[in-house]
């Protein structure tokens, strides 16, 4: 799963496949972190439910 | 530290089974079970959940009485080489629990790594892989007969014939002690080979022209190990699995029964 593991080899298969995987995981992770942080900051800034949330449907 | 094992010429351990000699007595199956700590259940008559690393099939020529003829075909794991070691089962294992060694040509199965997805079983056209549907249970006291050379398998994992690889390990141990790095032909023989009372099974290094197996089938390594001896054939040759178990038979219908053919002639029918 990670470089350095017994099964890991530095070949095309691992680089492409695992690269793709970590890339996807990275995007998901960063996106989620971004949302949470932003929401936390917004909440701290006092932004709240009063805006209603229907406009983006 | 000295290092020399790596320089050994790669071996391709394989088996030649002479079907004219095989009498279907079942000694190979029993010897295999006894050697490899194969578990057994109270009812083993459902052959599709009965673990038999070595299984003897009964083939018939499908002709009516009295022209009927039968032939027994012992089927261990074929230790397919596929293309460059990509045997049908090895490449599909998601957890790297099965592997192909270019040193010995043996397809290994590591029981503690296997998590039981059974993809390899789906991949194997020879049904040489068996799943432990049940916990292995020995009647009280009978676990004393278990050999320490072969790991006992737990429920929920796949197992198969290893060409008695532990015997290779044992023989190599002795060789190391004696300062050798190569084994003589008779030093490493599988349990079934040793047990066959008819002498139908021959085992050895297919790459070594001095070994009997090589002489018997003359494998053409340039063409996926295809046998060049006239009466030799392999099971499902056309699928390109490149198995290392070869069969010999002087009977044409038997040789034809080893593979599928389009015209449908000479197809054997399972005896029922």
């Amino acid at each position: 799963m990670f470089p350095g593991f017994f099964e890991w080899i530095w070949d095309g298969g691992h680089v492409v496949f695992m690269g793709g995987l970590w890339y996807a995981l990275g995007i998901i992770g960063m996106g989620l972190t971004f949302c949470i942080l932003k929401a936390a900051i917004e909440t701290a800034q006092g932004k709240g439910a009063e805006h209603g949330g229907d406009e983006h449907h | 530290m000295k290092q020399s094992q790596g320089h050994n010429r790669p071996k391709k351990y394989g088996m030649v089974i002479d079907l004219d000699k095989c009498t279907g007595c079942g000694s190979c199956m029993v010897a295999c079970m006894a050697e490899n700590n194969v578990p057994f259940k109270k009812d083993e008559t459902n052959k599709r959940d009965s673990i038999t690393w070595m299984k003897v099939y009964k083939l018939t020529n499908g002709k009516p009485f009295p022209e009927n003829d039968v032939c027994y075909l012992p089927r261990p794991c074929m230790h397919c080489e596929g293309h460059h070691g990509h045997s049908p089962c090895v490449s599909v294992c998601p957890a790297t629990a099965t592997d192909y060694s270019t040193d010995t040509g043996i397809v290994s199965q590591i029981y503690t790594r296997c998590f039981g997805c059974r993809y390899c079983m789906a991949a194997c056209p020879y049904h040489a892989r068996y799943f432990n549907w049940w916990d292995p249970v020995w009647p009280a006291g009978m676990e004393q007969m278990l050999s320490p050379d072969v790991s006992v398998r737990m429920r929920g994992i796949v197992e198969k014939c290893s060409f008695c690889f532990h015997r290779y390990q044992r023989a190599m141990d002795k060789a190391h002690l004696e300062g050798r790095h190569e084994l003589a032909e008779d030093e490493y023989q599988t349990s079934c080979t040793q047990a066959c009372p008819s002498g139908a099974i021959t085992f050895g290094d297919l790459n070594n022209p001095e070994h009997k197996v090589h002489q018997m089938v003359k494998p053409d390594n340039a063409h996926g190990g295809r046998p060049q001896a006239p009466n030799a054939f392999r099971l499902l040759e056309r699928l390109g699995t490149n198995p290392k178990v070869y069969y010999l038979s002087t009977r044409e219908w038997v040789r034809k029964a080893g593979d599928n053919s389009i015209k449908g002639e000479g197809k054997a029918h399972a005896k029922h």
């Binding site: - | 599909v92 790297t96 499902l236």
Partner: protein, 410 residues
């Protein structure tokens, strides 16, 4: 009693009635859970699988729900990437169905493996050459994406949404949903494909083996394609079903029509590719292994050529023709017929690519292997259905799943 939780401006049945309904489905769920526990504690001997049927009902169920759940990624792809904004009216429901399908698939996989406690080996000790590894990785990742897509819906529950942090989080997630959707689509293209690859790479099994491009057999592409084509069928079928159950119109005709049209053209193109693949396989690939087409469809009590006809004609050509014609998809009856046929078609395809693969004898002296599932297998397969029904019911009752509900009904 629970009116405070119910979205504003919509009407729902009484809590008692709802609880009764949930109770009945819950009983089925518990039955499934019991069977699941049996399989975990006593092992897979509880199933009717055997050494010939290492893959059976469960793997089919897995493949089928993932194909049917493909509506989520494809609708998301269409809405967020292609920009078909009309689909916003169905995307929530599609996401919910996808979420149910994928969580079910993961659960079934966890039951299906012989050593569930070692399940993590597939990630930890991954063999990247195995299609199943690809499946496991993409499946898990995409499930994470679906969870992320479903989460804001949950947060939009009337009460939860009053919490400022949740409100903001839901809002922010909606803002960047396109990123998630794109990632999800990327992952889905792969895992749907690798599920096809699972069968297609088995060169020891002439029934499933296909040639292909690079490391991917043709089934890789066919599976992705068919999931994209038939997934929306399932979304539409379930939309019609929930509309029937709730006796309300929940998704506008325009949206349905658009999705049906896209699905129709996808099926149409897919089925052409599938026919081409089948032809090539029957005339070139299989004969190379010594098999004729009819070897795969004769001498056994079940798998006749009818199954190929069912898959391609009834499950492919007919729904495609209905859905690509305006008249067809606008006729409520034909539309429902088409989406149901479509669901059957893709399910049959997944069935043969799992179970018939196992059934066909490969060694000339071997015989057909027939199989029927044990009750434990059936129960654990129904378990996710019950779970899905409950999750849909809860979501429908408490979450704003259908944005058009108010405008279409009140």
């Amino acid at each position: 009693m629970d009116s405070a939780l119910i979205p504003q401006g919509v009407r729902r049945c009484s809590l008692g009635k709802f609880a009764f309904f949930i109770g009945i489905v819950g009983a089925v769920l518990l039955w499934g859970v019991y069977a699941m526990l049996l399989c975990w504690l006593k092992g897979l001997n509880q199933t009717n699988m055997n050494d010939y049927y290492g893959f059976a009902l469960w793997i089919w169920a897995d493949l089928a729900v993932i194909a049917l759940g493909g509506g989520a990624f494809f609708t998301g792809f269409l809405k967020y990437i292609v920009g078909k904004d009309e689909l916003k009216n169905i995307i929530n429901y599609a996401v919910l169905i996808g979420f149910i399908c994928y969580s079910s698939a993961l659960l079934i996989l966890a039951i299906d493996i012989g050593q569930p406690l070692r399940g993590w080996f597939i990630f930890w000790h991954a063999n990247v050459h195995s299609m199943l590894t690809e499946v496991a990785f993409c499946l898990s990742c995409y499930f994470a994406v679906l969870s992320i897509e479903y989460l804001p819906l949950v947060l939009e529950n009337r009460q939860l949404n009053k919490v400022p942090f949740f409100h903001n989080l839901a809002h922010n997630m909606h803002e960047i949903m396109a990123v998630f959707a794109a990632t999800g689509a990327f992952l889905s293209f792969f895992h749907q494909g690798s599920l096809g690859g699972v069968a297609g790479v088995l060169f020891g099994r002439p029934f499933s083996f296909r040639e292909g491009a690079f490391i991917w057999p043709w089934t890789f592409f066919l599976f992705t394609w068919s999931a994209a084509a038939y997934g929306p069928c399932f979304t539409l079928a379930l939309t019609k079903l929930i509309e029937k159950v709730t006796r309300k119109k929940l998704v506008g005709d325009k949206c349905v029509d658009l999705l049906a049209k896209i699905s129709g053209w996808m099926i149409f193109t897919y089925i052409i590719a599938k026919i081409a693949d089948t032809y090539y396989w029957a005339t070139v690939t299989a004969p190379e292994g010594g098999f004729t087409l009819m070897d795969f469809y004769s001498n056994n009590p079940m798998y006749g050529i009818w199954i190929l006809v069912l898959e391609i004609v009834i499950g492919g050509i007919i729904p495609a023709l209905i859905l690509i014609t305006k008249k067809g998809r606008r006729s409520p009856f034909l539309l429902v017929t088409a989406v149901i046929f479509g669901c059957i078609g893709v399910s049959v395809n997944r069935w043969v690519m799992v179970l018939q693969v196992m059934a066909v004898p490969v060694m000339p002296f071997d015989t057909w292997a027939m199989y029927y599932p044990s009750w434990q297998e059936v129960a654990t397969t129904i378990l996710p259905v019950a779970y899905g029904v409950i999750l849909v019911a809860l979501s429908y009752r408490y979450l704003p799943i259908f944005p058009q509900e108010k405008e279409l009904n009140y």
